[in-house]
Structures are given as C-alpha cells and as structure tokens.
Symmetry: C2
Subunit: 110 residues, 2 copies
Amino acid sequence: MVVDQLSDSEVDLLFHALADSTRRSIVVRAIGEEHSVSALAAHYAMSFAAVQKHVAVLERAALVTKEKRGREQIVRANPEAIRRARQLLDEYEKIWRQRVDRIADILAED
Amino acid sequence: MVVDQLSDSEVDLLFHALADSTRRSIVVRAIGEEHSVSALAAHYAMSFAAVQKHVAVLERAALVTKEKRGREQIVRANPEAIRRARQLLDEYEKIWRQRVDRIADILAED
DNA sequence: CTGATCTACAACCATTTGGTTGTAGATTAC
DNA sequence: GTAATCTACAACCAAATGGTTGTAGATCAG
C-alpha cells in the first residue's frame, strides 16, 4: 500500500518537525499522557514562548493536536502522523529490497 | 530492540536531511542505481552547486555515501540509515501502543 | 597539448529558524 | 474584585538554510 494523501510539502513539515530533539521529546511526552503547554514548558531550559513555537511546529505537521480546556491548551500526540512518516520510510526500504531482488535475478541468469 | 547508537544530533541530521523533497528524490534515485553528482543534477531545475549541497546534507546524515571513480563521484544510498530512521518511529509507535494497553488495563480493573 | 567535463569550494544573498522579551486577553483562585 | 496563571502574538535578533555565481583543480577525449 502506497503512502498517499501526503503532499511533498506535508512530508517536509513532518520530517522537519521531527528534526529537533526538543520537539521529539515533546512528542514522546504527549504520547505518554496529556499535557498543557505550560506543563510541557516546565521541562525545558527555554522560555514558554519557545516551547509554544515548538508545539506550533508539531501542530502544523499534524504530529500533535491542541484542545482548549479552561485556560489551558491540552497537547495530544497524533500517532497517525507518526505512522505515516514510518510508512514513507517503509516505502524506501521496499524500493531497496526490490533493487536487491532485481540484481539477484540478473545474477541468477548466468 | 532499542534504536541506540544514534545521538540526538545525528537524529536531527537524519530527519533534517529527509525534510526536503529534492533530497528525498535524490535518495530514491540513489537507491535504484548508482549516479554521479552531475547525473543527479541533470534532473533538477537548480544549479549543479545546489544539488552538490543537497548531496552533502544527505552525506552528513549518512543517508548516502560518495565514492570517487575517475573524475566522478558516485552517490549510493545507505539503506541502513533509512532503517534507523524507521526504527525510531517504530519506537514512538510502540510507546503509543503501551499507553493504549495501559489504559485498557486500568479500564479492565472496574 | 587542448578542450570539455566533473567536482570542490568560496562568496554572496534572501528567507527561515530558533531563540528572546514584552504586552495583552482569558480563566481560575482567593 | 484582585491577583495569579495560562495562552497568544508581535517585535526583534543571531544563526542556519537553500539558492546563486564564479573560480580553480582533476580527469578524460581527441
């Protein structure tokens, strides 16, 4: 099955969002349980606004969603986005395996 | 098995390298067969130097290797790096599944 | 030898990124 | 009502990114 319904620029956003250790850490926390933005920010040696921006990057990539609850914004990870990124890499590995098979076939012809 | 032996900054390089459609396209071409840098550059609407830089980004991330052959540099994809990126995302999915199981257990206690 | 090809690398530029501080609007607690 | 908390967002800044052109060194072809 092909990883469709993701445009090039969406994939760009997805991998870009994952290319930062603070953001990956936020995703892991948000997978484990719900957190408000300020609860997340408490864990990092940077300003609240900086963490807010990181969450916004993750949100643009659909790796997390935000939901307002009272005065807080609850951040939740979206495992579907993670799955799509993984499937993309699966595709690349599949292409590689096809190449290996193809070369094996050519060698077998001798 | 845990995806170890990859530091945070190496993972940064890996996902950053994948966060550009030109670079992903180069990786796919290089998986399929060997290409010189100029052969790769012929496919893109940008300068040779720009493609050279993209290849350098992929090389820093270990997604491709370069080997000098005569006056050419042969670019080859490194499927191991792709596998490691996928394994990282597998870890995240595993954490998610553990959470789902844990919540199911809590609910089952009632 | 000469010219064409392939690469490396520097210098430059516009835009994006990742951080900061500051201000202001909602919501909650007392 | 007042104070504290949580968030949003603007303005600013240094550094990185993604592109360009230009120059120069190797290697190959004739």
